[in-house]
């Protein structure tokens, strides 16, 4: 019987109760063409080292929990196939723009706070009675928000964003893209409220349009474009507010 092919998985570990500094652990994992990095991590957890910590849930690129740097690039580990690796080993590291709690698990409070600040829900001036039915949209209205609706909050865009790396207060790509989705939603009346937040000091202005957020997005959302559109919408809204009002 032919021996099982294996691949080396190198994981950046951080166990604060054991060592102050992060360190790397290497594991030989059975390899098959259909395996993704998350499968390898789960193999390690189940068979080699139960202390390895990482987040995951859906295994199908929907929940956005399993984000990590795979060979130095921000990716969902559930969507990164082992066969895509060019070398004979794969390096898995936690997202570096967030504080590491343990191994590949990072503190997400910074992102959640941003998400909460932009009120990612439908804001209505007046709610209609449930008996009146749903708030309907035409296919054209839906198309306006379809792309940004795909965001799964995986934070890979924040990992790719050099501005967020330097300034954690920056609203960042995902929160901006989700805001854009709400601002453009035909059912929503909160555009002004959101644009005020997005055009404030820590809003969208610091985006330098590098566009890496859009490159790394696993759901093909284009946060860089959403930010530029928000800058234009917010800017025009501010200029209008500075003009004398008609009596």
């Amino acid at each position: 019987m032919a021996s099982q092919k294996t691949i080396k998985i190198r994981v950046k570990r951080y166990i604060p109760e054991k060592a102050e500094e992060p360190f790397y652990s290497e594991y030989d994992v059975p390899y098959s063409e259909d395996m993704v990095v998350l499968d390898a991590l789960n193999y390690i957890k189940d068979n080699l080292d139960g202390s390895l910590s990482f987040r995951w849930s859906c295994r199908m690129g929907v929940c956005g929990s399993c984000s990590a740097n795979v060979d130095g690039k921000p990716k969902l580990t559930c969507s990164s196939f082992l066969k895509e690796s060019k070398g004979d080993s794969i390096l898995v590291e936690p997202l570096s723009h967030f504080r590491t709690i343990k191994d590949l698990v990072v503190e997400i409070d910074v992102f959640v706070k941003k998400l909460k600040s932009i009120k990612p829900w439908i804001i209505r001036n007046e709610e209609k009675p449930i008996a009146d039915g749903e708030y309907l949209q035409t296919p054209e209205q839906r198309d306006l928000i379809k792309q940004t609706s795909m965001c799964i909050n995986c934070m890979l865009c924040y990992e790719a964003c050099p501005v967020f790396d330097m300034d954690n207060d920056f609203i960042g790509p995902a929160a901006a893209a989700i805001s854009y989705r709400s601002v453009m939603d035909s059912r929503d009346d909160g555009a002004k409220e959101r644009l005020d937040i997005l055009t404030s000091k820590h809003g969208v202005w610091d985006c330098t349009y590098i566009g890496e957020c859009s490159v790394v997005c696993p759901k093909a959302v284009d946060p860089a474009l959403a930010i530029q559109k928000l800058k234009a919408m917010g800017g025009i809204s501010i200029i209008k507010s500075l003009l004398p009002k008609k009596k």
Partner: protein, 120 residues
């Protein structure tokens, strides 16, 4: 309640306007001044300094002033972002002062030059 940053909005909108003006007019100026005479589509005489000077009325001066200042503004705003991208965001205030000072000085030089150029 978050307050909109009105200054940033004005700076960014001016940047986009500058980019629009630069992208629209600079290629036209390059074609008229350089490419067209080079390929024989315009005679060298028409684009000579004296000939252009003869056409440099007040409107043309304002046009060139707008094109020059808008292009420099656009370029410096972008340059500011390049400096942030290479890791200098912590020097935000000095970078703002430096880039906008260059814009103001360039605008003053442009105005002075256009006033200095003699009328036809």
């Amino acid at each position: 309640m978050a307050e909109p940053d009105k200054l940033e909005a004005v700076l960014w909108l001016t940047f986009t306007l500058g980019g629009f003006i630069a992208a629209l007019f600079i290629p036209v100026i390059i074609v008229i001044n350089n490419l067209a005479p080079g390929i024989g589509a315009l005679s060298q005489e028409i684009v000579s300094y004296d000939s252009m000077l003869a056409r440099l009325g007040p409107l043309a001066r304002i046009f060139f002033l707008i094109v020059v200042v808008a292009s420099i503004y656009h370029g410096m705003h972008r340059f500011k972002f390049v400096l942030f991208d290479i890791g200098l965001l912590k020097f935000k205030t000095p970078i703002y002062v430096l880039t906008y000072a260059i814009i103001v000085i360039s605008a003053m030089i442009a105005i002075y030059s256009l006033i200095l150029i003699p009328n036809p």
